[in-house]
């Protein structure tokens, strides 16, 4: 039953179905005395968070434990947040309607930097102090993990503990540690110290940041002798079928990805030099076709969905993709289930396969050449040629596709006007084949990538280049052109390579009213700049400064296993426009992950051998 004080708010807000729980496949457990209660918190709307695969996995893994229960909580939309504040209704979890501050653990997903203010919003609505140091024995432990945990320093003052890497195993160890702590009557401090013994867990408050005089990072001072100097990510050596969420919670209201998301492998070793996921999720580990077909069938039975989307970093790279797709179509199409391939490789094979599974081909396909010129594509190690792209488009046209979406990035290292002109040329050649929708984002240098030393192009430069393209594409009827706001990319660049001092800016921005920054209509660049001024930090120093090759970074104590030497070598090769091959094809390129973490590439083809 929805408590009265919550139900009363529902008629007053948009999309009330976000706040009612009660979905099919939601897990409501009886409460046991020594049960560890975990609130899985996603700092964005219900529709976004419910579409997130990681959340579905952890929900399953935790609820499979007899001694733990996971519930879900999302950021209430601004109207609901305001109503809750006014009515003094605390943020609650959707399974039991218990207030979040009654849980043992609150685990936030760190999906993108622009969701950080929503973490504060959710803590605030829960009545939990925003800063870790202000929390008391009665408060839950606030933990976070996810892609941006690899540079979590801007959130160091907020989070009690941070988890690096894949959560399936470590979350169980954390829960066991908390359960022991509860049984012993451990204090919060003792609990956190105990957690430092779990591999992959970083407790920021136990480290003190040190800076050089020029404000660059000097490193961390450990407050206790036994603390790890470097926290290494967790990685699941062999993916277990038990981790596949085959009975995901089925929402009532439509969510972003309202379909079965089938993760077919983890990691991607193509080595695009701008891509953080490509570095941090290594090595490649594939699920077998057999496992995937069974999982897809189970998920369809348990949800009634009509679509299975093969979701991985570069879906077409599964070594058994062709068999997999054919078998899925074979087993599921009679039940009216569609298979979709969201990310296509730029080659004819991918297009051909996409055509075979597409129910309605007029929808079009999406390809991401990322850069306009061959030179620049070599710089970023995106192994795509103009001829390959155009041949794919010819193929797509023959197969009945009616349009193509092309993704490019602006402001990549070494980019000049000449590269933009080549991009325009490529777009024109593509548009001669099929109508094109061009989508241009701005390059954000990410930590743990070969471009972590690079400056982001100044916002003004990015905007000039957007206009340069826009003016030249405007008159072409065959081309639709959209570009992303440069100011959000700028803020992302600041926080993605930020240090612990940015925590103050974050708090200040939240106090000024920033939230839902990833939602254009709520992004307040002016307030953010006010927050930087208030704290006395210069955002351009973080975003637009070129780093010296020897500079230490505030993310190097958080290791995804890829070595600095590899990244530096890749940076140098980028300067020379030299390519590095995909190790999943067979030859290790010594990124460092496998020996450091005692894991290896697992492919279907490899298994077959």
């Amino acid at each position: 039953m929805i408590p009265k004080e919550i139900e009363r708010l529902l008629p007053q807000v948009t999309k009330p179905a976000r706040y009612i729980g009660g979905e099919i496949n939601a897990v409501r457990k009886d409460r046991g005395a020594d049960q560890v209660r975990v609130a899985l918190a996603f700092p964005d709307t219900y529709e976004v968070g419910m579409s997130h695969l990681g959340l579905k996995i952890l929900y399953k893994v935790i609820n499979d434990l007899p001694y733990a229960a996971a519930e879900r909580v999302f950021a209430p939309w601004v109207d609901m947040a305001a109503k809750m504040n006014a009515a003094k209704v605390k943020l609650y979890a959707l399974e039991s309607f218990s207030p979040i501050d009654e849980f043992d653990l609150v685990g936030f997903t760190l999906q993108y930097e622009l969701s950080y203010t929503n973490i504060l919003l959710m803590l605030d609505l829960s009545g939990i102090p925003l800063l870790a140091k202000d929390r008391g024995e009665q408060h839950p432990l606030i933990i976070a993990g996810g892609p941006t945990a690899y540079n979590v320093e801007p959130l160091a003052d907020v989070l009690d503990a941070v988890v690096l890497g894949e959560g399936e195993e470590v979350v169980v160890e954390i829960i066991q540690a908390v359960q022991k702590g509860k049984a012993d009557g451990s204090t919060r401090k003792e609990m956190l110290e105990r957690l430092t013994g779990v591999k992959g867990v970083y407790v920021p408050s136990l480290y003190e940041p040190l800076y050089h005089e020029d404000a660059t990072w000097r490193g961390l001072k450990r407050k206790l002798p036994h603390l790890p100097e470097i926290v290494e990510k967790r990685v699941v050596a062999e993916l277990s079928p038990n981790y596949i969420p085959t009975a995901p919670v089925l929402p009532y209201t439509e969510i972003i990805h309202d379909r079965v998301l089938l993760e077919i492998f983890r990691g991607c070793a193509r080595g695009c030099r701008f891509c953080q996921a490509g570095m941090t999720y290594r090595p490649v580990r594939e699920f077998s076709t057999h496992t995937l077909v069974l999982a897809a069938q189970a998920a369809i039975r348990n949800t009634g969905y009509e679509e299975v989307s093969l979701s991985s970093l570069s879906t077409m790279d599964h070594s058994g993709i062709e068999t997999l797709v054919r078998e899925l179509v074979d087993k599921l199409s009679c039940e009216g289930v569609n298979i979709s391939l969201p990310s296509l490789r730029v080659d004819s094979f991918s297009v051909q396969l996409a055509a075979e599974v597409a129910r309605v081909r007029k929808s079009g396909i999406t390809l991401a050449p990322e850069a306009g010129s061959q030179r620049l594509r070599d710089v970023i190690n995106k192994q795509v040629t103009a001829e390959g792209l155009l041949a794919s488009l010819q193929g797509a046209k023959r197969l009945g596709f009616k349009s193509v979406k092309l993704y490019f990035m602006l402001g990549l290292p070494t980019e000049t006007k000449h590269d933009l002109d080549e991009m325009l040329g490529l777009i024109a050649r593509a548009a001669a084949i099929l109508p094109v929708a061009v989508s241009v984002s701005s390059f954000v240098p990410k930590p743990h990538t070969p471009f972590q030393w690079e400056p982001q192009a100044a916002m003004q430069v990015l905007e000039e280049r957007q206009q340069y393209l826009r003016e030249r594409l405007r008159r072409d009827r065959r081309v639709k052109f959209v570009y992303h706001d440069a100011s959000t990319s700028f803020l992302e660049a600041v926080f993605s390579r930020g240090d612990r001092r940015l925590g103050k800016v974050l708090i200040a921005a939240y106090r000024l009213g920033c939230k839902f920054d990833a939602w254009g209509e709520h992004f307040r660049y002016d307030l953010w700049m006010e927050a930087f001024a208030e704290v006395g930090l210069d955002p351009t120093w973080y975003a637009n400064r070129e780093r010296h090759p020897a500079e230490q970074f505030p993310w190097e104590h958080l290791s995804p296993g890829v070595t600095r030497e590899f990244l530096l070598a890749e940076k140098e090769k980028a300067g020379l426009a030299m390519l590095t091959l995909d190790c999943a094809a067979g030859t290790c390129v010594d990124c460092g992950v496998c020996p450091a973490l005692a894991v290896g590439t697992v492919t279907e083809r490899g298994r077959g051998q």
Binding site: P16, I20, T253, G304, Y305
Partner: protein
């Protein structure tokens, strides 16, 4: 094979929209592995309709679905499957009935809806209802998108009674006048000079266009 199915939804699901409810039933039937019939055409959709849309926030103990199956299914199998997929959900499966393929859509046959309205606060509700039953004619202003007209409410109401501050009334839910419980409550307030507020509204049953009140599965 054409079916009318009856479900109840828990109070927790009062705030899912008509469209969401439709989708929820569709997925429920897919999970039950029913051989659904689809419309012909470029974009086939299941032949499935809900009997009567409700305003967001109303609870329903009488959701009716009019459904076509592509092939016959033994009634016992149907019942077993629908019971299974509603186990441990906020839906309960209450019954099924086979109907002739050429019968009008259920939505077109629904004439009356039985509501329970929990009214906030104490007071004169029973007297107001008495005044209403005793009167020859009671007019109210019926507002629609395009017009406002004076309508006699008497023929729009059957079986009205009050049980501990809970109003129970069978109201017209077909053309020409769809009488909503909040409108009825406002009208009663007019009779007693008080303002009544509904705590919640439950749809208890639907009745077909017939002389006596007959539920779709009767």
């Amino acid at each position: 094979m054409r079916l009318w199915l009856k479900f109840a939804r828990s109070a927790q699901l009062a705030y899912i929209s008509h469209l969401d409810t439709h989708r929820a039933y569709y997925r429920l039937f897919r999970r039950a592995n029913l051989p659904l019939a689809f419309s012909q055409g470029f974009n086939p959709h299941p032949i499935l309709s809900l009997a009567s849309p409700m305003p967001l926030g109303y609870r329903s103990e009488a959701d009716y679905v009019d459904l076509c199956l592509a092939e016959p299914l033994a009634m016992s199998h149907l019942l077993e499957r629908l019971q299974r997929v509603t186990l441990q959900t906020e839906f309960s499966f209450l019954g099924a009935r086979m109907v002739k393929a050429d019968r009008k859509p259920l939505a077109a046959e629904v004439a009356w809806t039985d509501y329970e309205v929990q009214v906030l606060g104490q007071g004169s509700l029973a007297q107001a209802v008495q005044a209403f039953t005793g009167a020859e004619e009671v007019h109210f202003l019926k507002k629609s998108k395009s017009s406002t007209k004076l309508v006699n409410a008497k023929p729009l109401v059957r079986d009205v009674r009050v049980e501990d501050n809970r109003l129970r009334a069978v109201l017209s839910s077909s053309e020409p006048v769809f009488f909503r419980p909040d409108e009825f409550l406002a009208l009663l307030g007019g009779l007693s000079g008080e303002e009544y507020q509904a705590d919640y509204v439950v749809r208890k049953e639907l009745y077909l266009r017939a002389e006596s009140l007959m539920a779709p599965l009767d």
